[in-house]
Symmetry: C2
Subunit: 325 residues, 2 copies
DNA sequence: ATGAAAGCGCTAACAT
DNA sequence: ATGTTAGCGCTTTCAT
């Protein structure tokens, strides 16, 4: 691997001149530049990026920590975040914390050790971590770590209203709600509280099924929902996240229920997989692209020293037409 | 951000001593070490990893290039690759080339510029790229770039046999095969050629539907397969990748076909989403975890200078029970 | 316009 | 056992 020193030697110039020629900075005679560029090509010179980062004080890498790459919502988020970062000339490092205790700490450290220029956090806050003390660019998506770290999240109040409205207008009298316990202050919980409130205000009975927010991948398939089979049987409406909703649909149909005639299902997130099942799922769609864009735009602002960033950024949700309501 | 120089100053010692104390190398008096460690803590010292990499000549980062993060097969691959790399103390950088022309080149360059210690390639070979000239750790999964770069791939001959056997034994007489054109030398094409050969040898009629291997995300949903609606109608058996298979199932059921009574469907890949549809898809499962493990193990060997690596590593496939055959 | 030299933060070899 | 120094590959003064 040849260095600028080799080029300098070959071209018969000083290393400073080589550096200038390669970067196009400062004064350079046209023919000296040509000579140097030729030498560089002949030696198949590749600049050493980490070293450059050392000077520029940026690695051009941003990290993202997700609970589970394979969960469709985070898969989508990751995809768009990566694409957006690329637009800005940044690369993307992933950390999937599935099954590993406190694995996000590792990434927080790397952030402090200048491996990355910033970090996008999509996982639950970790007890005993003083995130405020990390004086590096950080943003959160859907999970709140601190008042002072920008949080990008969907409008889950509207989401909860939309979902509730769908089941209510469809005439449901007894709905089954899948909701995680705890983490009340996280914005994504609003969908559940709002939904529940509206149901109760409308005199509609609400059955509850607990799901754990940190255990929510494809384990939530047909097998998983079987434990709630009794509840599904009793309900005439269901509000659940994509994978659970798909599982419920399958379970219900297998038990001979007609969907949507006897049972309405409203899904939340409405990722592409909800178009695959039959009938397709009706529900509330999160704008994953927008979430990703705003998150990346925000962290770029911070990285570039722009201090006027909003700490609460709400993204609109929308209705997704399907065949289950 | 304080450096070892600051620590040296504060502790009243030389920087070399600080370095040794921090790394635990060489002789250090116990109390000097304590003094230094205290100073480090007080100054909230964080080592600068990129600089360390400069010396150790490793960044502890490995990249992976995929066609589409959101395609379930690559999502699974990415997840397991990331986890495996982590075990080895390596972090994972992703590159999704969706929609961007020659974007993988960017990553190949970063590899040469020492941003990463190695690269795992899962995308089609790019015309005009002399991959051999890149003297850095490389492995390929499912896509062959060169005889000399380790290729990890499923046993698609067995896969094709399994799939063909399923439809044949089920008594199909006219099957619809979804297969991409071109890239004949890629190992994953074997499933298609093998399948076709066995069908023809058995006197079973084969209808063909083309899919483009580089355009294969969730666009392959219910909408996509509609253009093949006539062919689906005519067939009594279908062999297709997961998303296409799911789409076909939906399309067929909507047209009143009974699955599996009138139409058998065999899927390929058999990722978790195939458990979500009703009935679940019968098919051939790739061992994504194993593919990822072997790929990571292999690149680790190369990174660590182990020259005895196999350039053709075949991973077994298996039968996945479902309700469509 | 260009070469020489300092230094980014750190490690490792060499003195002492 | 510890301080000093050279140097990793590069950028950026500062002379010339």
């Amino acid at each position: 691997m040849s260095s600028i020193r080799d080029i300098a030697l070959k071209a018969g110039v000083g290393i400073g001149t080589v550096s200038r020629a390669l970067n196009g900075t400062g004064y350079i005679a046209e023919d000296t530049k040509k000579k140097i560029l030729n030498a560089a090509r002949e030696l198949d010179y590749k600049p050493n990026d980490p070293v450059r980062s050392l000077y520029r004080n940026r690695s051009a890498i941003v990290g993202i920590v997700v609970p589970d790459i394979e969960h469709p919502f985070f898969t989508g988020l990751l995809k768009h975040v990566e694409q957006e970062l690329f637009q800005y000339g940044y690369r993307c490092m992933v950390c999937d914390i599935t099954g590993k205790e406190r694995r996000e700490l590792e990434f927080l450290e790397m952030l402090q050790q200048d491996v990355m220029d910033g970090l996008i956090i999509c996982v639950d806050p970790l007890a005993g971590v003083d995130i405020e003390s990390i004086r590096k660019p950080l943003v959160c998506i859907e999970r709140k770590w601190s008042e002072n770290i920008p949080l990008i999240h969907s409008n889950h109040i509207k989401g909860g209203e939309l979902a509730a409205g769908l089941l209510k207008d469809a005439g449901c009298r007894r709905v089954l709600q899948f909701a995680p316990v705890g983490a009340e202050k996280d914005p994504f919980m609003n969908r559940h509280s709002t939904f529940r409130r509206i149901m109760e205000e409308s005199g509609i009975e609400v059955l509850q099924a607990n799901i754990l927010s940190n255990r929510m991948g494809y384990e939530y398939d047909g097998q998983y929902v079987k434990q709630f089979s009794d509840l599904i049987e009793k309900a005439d409406g269901i509000f659940a996240p994509d994978l659970v909703a798909a599982g419920c649909l399958k379970e219900a149909v297998e038990h001979g229920r007609k969907v949507p005639e006897e049972l309405k299902i409203v899904t939340y997130d409405a990722m592409p997989l909800t178009r695959l099942v039959n009938p397709t799922l009706t529900g509330v769609a999160q704008d994953v692209l927008r979430l990703a864009r705003v998150a990346v735009d925000t962290i770029m602002k911070i990285i570039n020293g722009n201090s006027s960033v909003d700490c609460d950024l709400t993204i609109d949700v929308s209705f997704q037409k399907g065949g289950t309501v």
